[in-house]
C-alpha cells in the first residue's frame, strides 16, 4: 500500500523533472532503433518526418532519437539517407510507443554485393581437378575459360583467390584482381579479372 503512494509520488516527480527541462514532444520515452550490419558512415533516420538521427559508426548497435515521446504517441521511422552502395531495410518501423514497442524498429543494412570471377588458361583438357578458393568459398573449374564464385561479395569487403587443389600434373598461379595478386577490396562492380594461369 505504502509503495503504491511512493511510486505515484515518484511518477509525479519524474513528470515534474521532464517538464522542468522542457523536453520537446512532451514525453518521457526515447524511441530506439536497432541497426544491424552497417559497415560505413552515412545512415540518417527520421521519425515522423523529422528529428534526424545520424549514424556514422559501423557495426551493430541500438540508437535513440533525441526527442522524447509521450506514451502511446505514434511513431513512423523512415530512412532519409543511406550510405553509398549500401541497401538498408526497415522492419517494425511504425506503431504507438510504449515499454514494449520503443525498440521494435530494426534497420538491416548490407553492402551491395557483386560477383567475383575471372579466367583460367593453360589447363590440359577438362576435368583435371582445379579447385579455386576465396577463403571458405570453393569452386571447381573444369576447363579453360571464365569462372565465377556462386556467392556475390559485398563492396568494401576484401577478397583473395587461391588455388586449393592443383590440377593433375599441372601447377596454376593466381594473378590479376585489384592488386595483381588475385586479391583486393571488392569494388562497386563485378570483378571478372582475376587470372589463373596453368602450366
Amino acid at each position: 500500500m505504502k509503495s503504491k503512494y511512493l511510486s505515484a509520488a515518484a511518477a509525479l516527480l519524474c513528470v515534474a523533472g521532464l517538464a522542468a527541462c522542457g523536453g520537446k514532444g512532451n514525453g518521457s520515452i526515447a524511441l530506439g532503433v536497432q541497426v544491424i550490419g552497417l559497415d560505413r558512415a552515412g545512415l540518417v533516420l527520421q521519425n515522423n518526418g523529422g528529428d534526424d538521427l545520424e549514424i556514422n559508426t559501423a557495426g551493430n548497435a541500438n540508437y535513440s532519437f533525441k526527442t522524447l515521446m509521450a506514451q502511446d504517441a505514434a511513431f513512423n521511422v523512415t530512412i532519409k539517407a543511406t550510405p553509398a552502395n549500401v541497401t538498408c531495410k526497415l522492419a517494425n518501423n511504425t506503431g504507438k510507443i510504449n515499454y514494449y514497442t520503443y525498440l521494435q524498429t530494426t534497420v538491416t543494412c548490407s553492402a551491395d554485393a557483386f560477383t567475383l570471377g575471372g579466367s583460367v588458361k593453360g589447363l590440359n583438357g577438362t576435368g583435371t581437378g582445379l579447385v579455386l578458393a576465396n577463403g571458405s568459398q570453393t569452386l571447381s573449374v573444369a576447363a579453360d575459360g571464365t569462372w565465377q564464385f556462386p556467392t556475390p561479395i559485398g563492396n568494401g569487403s576484401v577478397y583473395g583467390v587461391t588455388v586449393l587443389t592443383q590440377p593433375a600434373g599441372q601447377k596454376c598461379t593466381v594473378g590479376g584482381g585489384d592488386n595483381g595478386l588475385g586479391a583486393g577490396v571488392m569494388p562497386v562492380k563485378p570483378v571478372d579479372y582475376v587470372t589463373v594461369t596453368c602450366s
Binding site: A133, N134, G135, S136, Q137, T138, I153, S157, V158, Y159, G160, V161, T162, V163, L164, V174, N179, L181, G182, A183, G184, V185, M186
Partner: protein, 192 residues
C-alpha cells in the same frame, strides 16, 4: 511439512495408478547439429546408445520406472564434433516432468590457422583469407601471424597478400587447404 509432502506424493502416486498414469519412462531427448557419426551415449554408467549422424532425437532401449534416477553422459564424441548437454537436462528423476527430454547440442570443432613470417622489415603487410577473416595486418619485424578466429573442420581457407609491405615483396607458401582435426601452423610468408 515433511508429512504433508509425503502425503501429497502418496496421493499423486495413487492418482497415477488409478488413472493408469505412466509407470515407465523412456530416457530420450533431442539433438541439434549432429552431422557426423560416432556419438555414443551412456546412462548411469551402464546402458549405451549409438546415435547416427543426422539424428535429431534419441531414446535408450530400456525404460525406467517412476522415481528412478537417470544420468546420461557422453561416452564418445562424434568425429570432428563436440556435443554437450543443455542446462542440466541430462540428469533427473523419472516422473519429475511428464516425459524425459534431454537436450544435446553439437558443434563442429574449430581449429586455428597460423604461420611464420620471414624477412619482414617494413610495415604495411596485410593478409586476407578470402572474404572471411577481414584484414590481417602484420607489423614490421613480426615472425608469425594467425587468423583472428578459428575455423571449423572441413572449411576451406586460402591466405593471400592484400597489400605488400613498403618496398618489399612477400609470397605465401602452404597458404591454402581444408581444415582437419588440428591446428594448422604450416603457412609460410616469405618477404624480400
Amino acid at each position: 511439512m515433511k508429512a504433508k509432502l509425503l502425503g501429497a506424493a502418496l496421493l499423486a502416486a495413487a492418482a497415477l495408478a488409478a488413472c493408469g498414469g505412466k509407470a515407465s519412462f523412456v530416457i530420450g531427448g533431442t539433438i541439434s547439429g549432429l552431422s557426423n557419426s560416432g556419438l555414443k551415449l551412456q546412462n548411469n554408467g551402464g546402458d549405451t546408445l549409438d546415435v547416427a549422424s543426422g539424428a535429431t532425437s534419441f531414446s535408450f532401449p530400456n525404460s525406467i520406472g517412476y522415481g528412478t534416477e537417470y544420468k546420461v553422459s557422453i561416452l564418445q564424441q562424434p568425429q570432428h564434433m563436440a556435443c554437450d548437454f543443455l542446462g542440466g537436462t541430462e540428469h533427473g528423476s523419472a516422473g519429475h516432468t511428464t516425459s524425459i527430454n534431454i537436450q544435446i547440442s553439437c558443434l563442429t570443432r574449430t581449429y586455428t590457422v597460423s604461420g611464420t613470417v620471414q624477412g619482414l622489415t617494413a610495415d604495411g603487410l596485410v593478409l586476407v583469407n578470402g572474404s572471411e577473416s577481414g584484414r590481417i595486418t602484420v607489423a614490421k619485424g613480426a615472425t608469425s601471424f594467425s587468423l583472428p578466429s578459428a575455423l571449423p573442420v572441413g572449411t576451406a581457407y586460402g591466405i593471400t597478400i592484400l597489400t605488400q609491405p613498403a618496398g618489399q615483396a612477400c609470397t605465401v607458401e602452404n597458404g591454402s587447404g581444408v581444415m582437419g582435426d588440428g591446428d594448422r601452423t604450416d603457412v609460410k610468408v616469405v618477404c624480400q
